[in-house]
């Protein structure tokens, strides 16, 4: 067990023993390789089950929405930014949340690992600093951890929690090293037809399970527009226009609010890269409004306010 996990458990235990909070929201070891389960510890004893590793890909801020009581939550940079967003949007009360800030090691993409070991059953993946030890029935291989990070973690801009009541472990390197603006750059080179083609290609396999939406801390609408039936904005079929309407509108609803946490892509069972869309929208927001979501509590998300000098977006 790593020190960071010990420290998380110790802090969580203390919070519950002192009755500072009713619950600590974190992760526990998954039942199968390369998965971690969001976990809710209510007693000091339960904190022994907490863990923290590269497979903790769910965005825990999601679980704060409409949650009662006083909760502590484990948050790395992106999750803390989403908590800021939820506070700004009056979904979470700052006083009811105790943020256990952490540094993100850069989360892993099980899809990439599985692809590298295609046709072989992976029985265990152990993280060892900068390497991963991948084990199967009759193989054991050490690979570089860096190669298997999620796409969004390469271009992370804030790996340390931004707001917190307590920071666990050491603050680490703040960025993932990649250039976030480059993620969206390919769109600029394409004409509208090509863009549409690219978009169709990326989203055509969607099965409309809504894992992306439901994993996203921005998607807390009581009735999502795709579920509305009177008026019905969007059909419920697998026909392309219905699928595309869902993804396009959802992306626009998230503009100026997305922290690039990658939870949507991690949750997607068919491997759709939703960031192809959100990256472009967030780049536009940075360019036009000089705004990055969730950096401070005092600012207002640009799409939720109107100013006479708002920039025009073609």
């Amino acid at each position: 067990m790593t020190t960071i996990v010990e420290d998380i458990r110790a802090s969580a235990r203390k919070l519950l023993e002192d009755k500072t909070v009713d619950c600590v929201i974190g992760f526990t070891e998954g039942s199968v390789p390369m998965q971690a389960r969001p976990f809710f510890a209510y007693t000091p004893e339960e904190t022994d089950l907490l863990t923290w590793n590269g497979f903790c890909t769910s965005n825990l801020a999601n679980f704060l929405i409409k949650r009662e009581g006083r909760n502590a939550i484990l948050a790395q940079g992106c999750v803390s930014r989403n908590i800021v967003g939820l506070i700004q949007e009056n979904q979470v009360n700052r006083d009811d949340v105790y943020i256990l800030g952490v540094h993100s090691p850069g989360m892993l993409d099980p899809g990439k690992i599985k692809a590298a070991f295609a046709g072989r059953n992976i029985l265990e993946v152990r993280e060892n600093g900068q390497t991963l030890l991948v084990k199967g029935k009759d193989f054991e291989e050490e690979v570089s951890r860096k190669k298997f990070k999620r796409d969004n973690c390469y271009t992370c801009t804030h790996r340390n929690a931004l707001i917190y009541d307590e920071f666990i472990g050491e603050q680490g390197k703040q960025t993932g090293g990649g250039d976030i603006d480059k993620v969206a750059a390919p769109w600029d080179k394409l004409d509208p037809d090509q863009r549409w083609q690219e978009f169709e290609e990326e989203f055509k396999d969607c099965i409309r399970c809504y894992a992306c939406r439901n994993a996203c801390p921005l998607c807390y609408c009581k009735v999502c527009f795709v579920d509305e039936h009177n008026p019905q904005w969007c059909g419920k079929t697998q026909d392309e226009p219905d699928i595309y309407t869902f993804h396009l509108l959802r992306a626009f609803h998230c503009a100026g609010r997305c922290t690039d946490c990658g939870a949507c892509e991690s949750a997607c069972p068919v491997g759709i890269k939703m960031r192809r869309l959100t990256s472009k929208l967030e780049k536009d927001i940075r360019d036009k409004y000089d705004y990055q979501p969730g950096l401070d509590l005092e600012s207002q998300p640009p799409m939720s306010v109107y100013r006479p000098d708002d920039p025009e977006i073609e």
């Binding site: 769910s58 679980f63 079929t237």
Partner: protein
Amino acid sequence: MAEKILKKEELDDFVARLKSKYRIYAPLEKGGEWEWSEVEQGKDLTFDFFNSSLSPKKFFFPQTECLMHFRNDPHEEKGMLMEAEAGLDQPRLLFNIRPCDAKALTVLDKVFERDEESMDVYWKDKREKTVLIGLACTDPCPTCFCTSVNCGPHHEEGLDVLQVDLGDRLLLRGISEKGEQLLKDLDQAGTEDSQAAADQKKEAEGSITSGVEMDRIDSRQTLEVYDQAMWDRVYESCINCGTCTFYCPTCHCFDIQDETQGEYGRRVRNWDTCMSWLFTHHTSGHNPRGTKKDRVRQRFMHKFKYMPIKLEGSIGCVGCGRCTQRCPVNIDVRDVVNSMNEEHVE
């Protein structure tokens, strides 16, 4: 039951003969996953895969399926009257369907063909016009637990033919009469090959190490299982997406929607999921399963308690493990069922 042998080098011919009658589909590799795709020739077939990502239930119960259509014209006498959709125009053959997925279809038969009044004609049409050539599992996944839910890596139920991969050759066992017919021109398998297939079965079954226990779920009254305290924790991490239900080979809930465009109108059914709050939401605003806990509980109760009661013991699960593999928050069906089955300490 006849056991036949087909050399893999002769697959092309075998498939070509079948293609004269059937449209053939099989799991083929696509970007690291195996997806059900149309097969052009025998040499495209692969035998070294775990299972298809989505189950083949979509061949019989497509995610979006037009049930009826109408002419959208309220002023015309014949306008606004529903007309049924036609059935399949060509028989189909599913190659390399895994035994668990075939077993799932037999469970769904009991749902879709329950009795005369509830005979789903669209399901029945596709079932009748589809032949299933199964492929036994040699290397089950760590998430597989078929042997504990009335199934297994060489299970034959629902199949027309079961193939066992013997390396350079396939052993084909005709199970239904339809299946025997398909194999009638192939060579008889020798005792050695039959023995190899039997050994493989034993080994595959032995390699499935996880399972679920259901004895107490079966013996307890519905409300006793329903009211267990474990439900208060199981649902917590669930985000109520539909991944488990859409990947599940036995989940079969659907929604019906009407759509119109200009003069054309249709009534379609789409896969639905009990994880969605809308699924049971009354027009009045009342919702009998209004909480996440209600919905998560429903899914497991339905499969492991309600379906066995209603369908002569058939469990709504074949142990394929897809839900556990795909769940974004690692809800493991085995953990849930085993905890439903736990002894209560007073």
